[in-house]
Amino acid sequence: MNNKTVELLVGVFIIAGIAALLILALKVSGLNYYPGQNTYQLTASFDNIGGLKVRAPVRLAGVQIGEVKAIAIEPKTFKAVVTLAIDSKQDQLPTDTAANIQTEGLLGSNFIALSPGYAEDFLKHDDRIEVTHSALILENLIGQFLYNVNKK
């Protein structure tokens, strides 16, 4: 086999490897969803975030519009501060939007559901969502239920 064919085939081989990496990155791990530049940040503090993790989806009316970027503890209040990266196209969220931590199905993972309010002003970059509801922790609910049943 002559040199040119060999070189051509090796080039195709390398390209195939890069293509496979791109397929794995984009199609399998879904890396492309939020490239980072076209987002703005909001923060929200919760009493308890349950099992919420970084990169959990943020949904508005069930549609994903962003993801959780960071989770930290507020020093004095001991609340969990969650930083959300929201798609810049969704820049018309009213200032009294509420953030709830919800669970996908009974045993699924946690996500943040935003429910818009009625204010005239919109949330901007680095604003804080004031109305929040903590995660519903199934074990606590069962505990409270059993406690109530025992009391009766």
């Binding site: 040199n3 060999v6 070189e7 085939l9 090796v10 081989f13 390398i14 195939a16 490897g17 293509a19 496979a20 990496l21 397929i23 794995l24 990155a25 199609k27 399998v28 791990s29 879904g30 890396l31 969803y33 990169r55 993972s109």
Partner: protein, 260 residues
């Protein structure tokens, strides 16, 4: 009694010597003055024989392994009514484990043994010695291009294996077993992380590639220059490389699943 003790000692000394020699050999191959313009054509030729000629077996194996994982997974998951999690099962098991490990085993059998036999035959027929007589360094001319070709092609082969296996599995799951295409892919994308799963798969395949190709060229270069010695060296390459791949896989998995 004394004799047995002596033979035990001899075996351990031999093992240590051979590990040390292979380490020295590796450093000699790795740390040498790069002559890129003259080495590059040699590297291309070796990439062809090590990488591209291994592609058919990798592609066929990947297709069937992906399809089998999908079939088995569906059989089990359907019992719990969880066949929506098929994508997750398939992608995680392929990207984390099956891709790097199966590619490495096939690569050791297909390319590693061929390299050992090739270099071993060169040594047996004294081609390496005559090269040295002509002031051509056989480590540069023969060993280094093969080494780098193996090290480069192993992760590429593993990536191709992953992609083909996932598409093979998706074909069985979606077109044959009737899993909904949307839930299949979105569950997969939710479960697979680029950094934690795909990059660690690539790191695994790099380590496996290094171990396999090192064993292969060392065994060929160090073989006893007879027909029997060559056949032993080839066997040793496949056995040692496969065992080291499986052992290292355990260690690497433990490191990656721990906080690393």
């Amino acid at each position: 009694m004394i004799n047995q003790l002596q033979s035990l000692g001899r075996i351990s000394i031999d093992t240590c010597t051979s590990i040390g020699r292979s380490g020295l050999f590796l450093t000699q191959v790795l740390f040498r003055k790069p002559r890129i313009r003259r080495s590059f054509p040699l590297l291309i030729r070796e990439l062809y024989s090590v990488g591209i000629l291994s592609l058919p077996i990798i592609l066929v194996a990947a297709l069937f392994i992906g399809m089998v994982v999908a079939l088995q997974g569906h059989n089990t998951l359907a019992k719990f009514g969880a066949d929506a999690q098929m994508g997750q099962l398939l992608a995680l098991s392929v990207v984390r484990e099956l891709g790097p490990v199966v590619t490495a085993l096939l690569f050791a059998g297909r390319a590693g043994s061929a390299l050992t036999a090739e270099i071993g035959l060169m040594k047996t027929t004294e081609q390496l010695a005559s090269m040295e007589m002509m002031a051509v360094d056989p480590l540069w001319r023969i060993v280094a291009p093969r080494f780098w070709a193996g090290f480069i092609s192993m992760p590429i082969l593993a990536l191709i294996f992953n992609a083909v296996a996932i598409y093979g599995g998706s074909w069985v799951a979606i077109d044959w077993l009737g899993v909904t295409s949307g839930t299949f892919w979105s569950n997969m994308q939710a479960a697979v992380g680029f950094r934690v799963d795909i990059v660690s798969g690539i790191i695994k395949s790099l380590v496996f590639g290094l171990v396999i190709i090192w064993t292969a060229v060392y065994q060929g270069y160090d073989c006893v220059p007879t027909a029997e010695g060559m056949s032993r060296a080839t066997t040793r390459t496949v056995v040692y490389a496969s065992l080291m791949v499986l052992g290292l896989d355990f260690i690497l998995t433990a490191m990656m699943l721990g906080d690393w």
